[in-house]
């Protein structure tokens, strides 16, 4: 398996990268960690004539707190996310999710931006970002714009990114202290994409759920933000009846493909099972 030929560019700044992408147009692809793109190039499913490697752009790396938000540079690797004390304290679900992505080697190279921007429905970060209400900073020839993760994904590999634009940072509102969270992922083995996965973040007070958000991975051609399912949890004690209702609402919005992970009906049901388990674990973690 050998990729086709291409020219390689390694800009040092976002402005240079954008300028290159604008100049080279549709024939160019930005390269982040490369573990989605390079295998596609090796099977010649992708044949870009130019690769614009974003790895040398220092501005795209790092995790910082800004106002009530956590801002993560797009080229921050999953390995870095896992090791971040700041995230461990404020957004532990990112670490939990990152540990379930691919395998150790790939997590050194794989980036949060690449995972989020690629538009692969199998990736884990998109549903998590939707669950967390994150927004993406897209930098293009006309400057920076922000698009909510919940509005970014259009179809498999189709996103709101315009030609010449790069996802440069992800801004995540910090959930309240004491929130409950869980990412439940069913997969065949380490290194596999999810058969189905669910991200849940919620808050509890006086035994009742006061807020909830749910993201679902790999059960449609885009990540799914299960708004109605989450609403069905709010105001309940997250008892069986409430979970049954949320699961039914979540299952209703899935439309998974059949593949080696199982037929569509199985993956829909697994989205429900993962949601139920994530909600139960989130509840157990929430301060009441």
């Amino acid at each position: 398996m050998i990729p086709g030929s291409f020219d390689y560019h390694r800009p040092k700044s976002v402005a240079d990268a954008v300028a290159l992408l604008v100049k080279l147009g549709e024939d160019a692809r930005p390269l982040a960690g490369g573990h989605s793109l390079i295998p596609m190039m090796k099977t010649r499913l992708a044949t870009p004539e130019h690769l614009v490697d974003l790895r040398a752009i220092g501005d795209l790396k790092g995790i910082r707190e800004e106002g009530g938000d956590i801002v993560i540079g797009a080229m921050t690797t999953q390995h870095t996310l896992i090791g971040s004390d700041l995230l461990a304290a404020k957004l532990p679900i990112i670490r939990e999710t990152s540990l379930l992505i691919a395998d150790p080697q790939i997590r050194y190279m794989g980036t949060i931006g690449g995972n989020a921007a690629n538009g692969d429905p199998g990736n884990d970060m998109p549903a998590l970002m939707q669950c967390l209400g994150a927004s993406y900073e897209l930098t293009g020839p006309n400057g920076v714009r922000r698009v909510a993760a919940r509005e970014f994904y259009q179809a498999a590999y189709f996103t709101a990114l315009e030609t010449g634009e790069i996802l440069t940072a992800i801004r995540i509102p910090v959930p309240p202290v004491g929130h409950g969270y869980a990412y439940e992922k069913l997969k065949r083995k380490i290194g596999d994409y999810a058969t189905a996965a669910a991200a849940v973040v919620l808050t509890m007070s006086g035994g009742k759920c006061t807020s909830a958000s749910i993201g679902l991975t790999n059960v449609a051609d885009t990540p799914l933000w299960a708004e109605e399912a989450a609403n069905a949890l709010v105001g309940t004690a997250l008892d069986k009846a409430a979970l049954d209702k949320a699961v039914a609402l979540a299952e209703a919005i899935t439309s998974p493909a059949a593949d080696g992970r199982g037929p569509a009906e199985y993956r829909t049901k697994m989205a429900g099972v993962m949601l139920r388990r994530a909600a139960e674990r989130a509840k157990s973690r929430a301060k009441n």
Binding site: M1, I2, P3, G4, S5, F6, D7, Y8, R10, L31, G34, H35, I38, P39, M41, K42, L51, D53, R55, H79, A102, D103, P104, Q105, I106, Y108, M109, I190, G191
Partner: protein, 166 residues
């Protein structure tokens, strides 16, 4: 496409070369540098037989372009033994604990274990299994690989190695 000039360090030695941008790091290492320890097993970044250490990261060199490694420092399995030929603790552990059979996954397995022990010098069995989950072995069933890494960890930490009772 024009070839590009790259400079990097491999096993402590400076290396300069011309590469096509599409040259995969594994082919650069094996064919241009004649370091044939790392192998290709799956072509799709699942098996880890091609794992090398790149700037302190375990990297699958079949899914990395050589040109991406420009300016980097790489260690391959050939760089693990001491200059006098003494095996590293991991190499010794793999032999002592029968952590290999056909030997094809071994260089990648050793390079991954090397980085794992750098980051976590005293891993539990569960941490070892999770830490080497990017490397497939078709021969050993992993049990003796886990022991090999535990052996190496004990040796590096200067404590006696005790096999866990089965």
């Amino acid at each position: 496409m024009a070839k590009a000039h790259i400079e990097l360090t491999i096993n402590g030695q400076p290396v300069e070369a011309l590469v096509e941008p599409r040259t995969l790091l594994i082919h650069f290492i094996r064919e241009q540098q004649n370091l044939t320890g790392a192998h290709i097993g799956c072509d799709t970044s699942h098996c880890g037989a091609c794992t090398v250490d790149l700037d302190g990261m375990s990297v699958k060199s079949c899914t990395t372009f050589a040109i991406q490694a420009n300016g980097s420092s790489i260690t391959t399995v050939e760089g693990m033994a001491a200059a006098d030929g003494t095996l590293s603790a991991l190499q010794e552990g793999f032999r002592m604990m029968h952590g290999l059979q056909c030997g094809y996954c071994t260089p990648g397995m050793i390079m991954r274990s090397h980085r794992l022990l750098q980051e976590n010098p005293n891993p539990t069995e569960e941490e070892i299994r999770f830490g080497i989950a990017g490397n497939l072995c078709r021969c050993t069933g992993y049990q003796n690989i886990v022991k090999a890494i535990q052996y190496a960890a004990a040796k590096i930490n200067g404590v006696p190695f005790q096999e866990a009772a089965e």
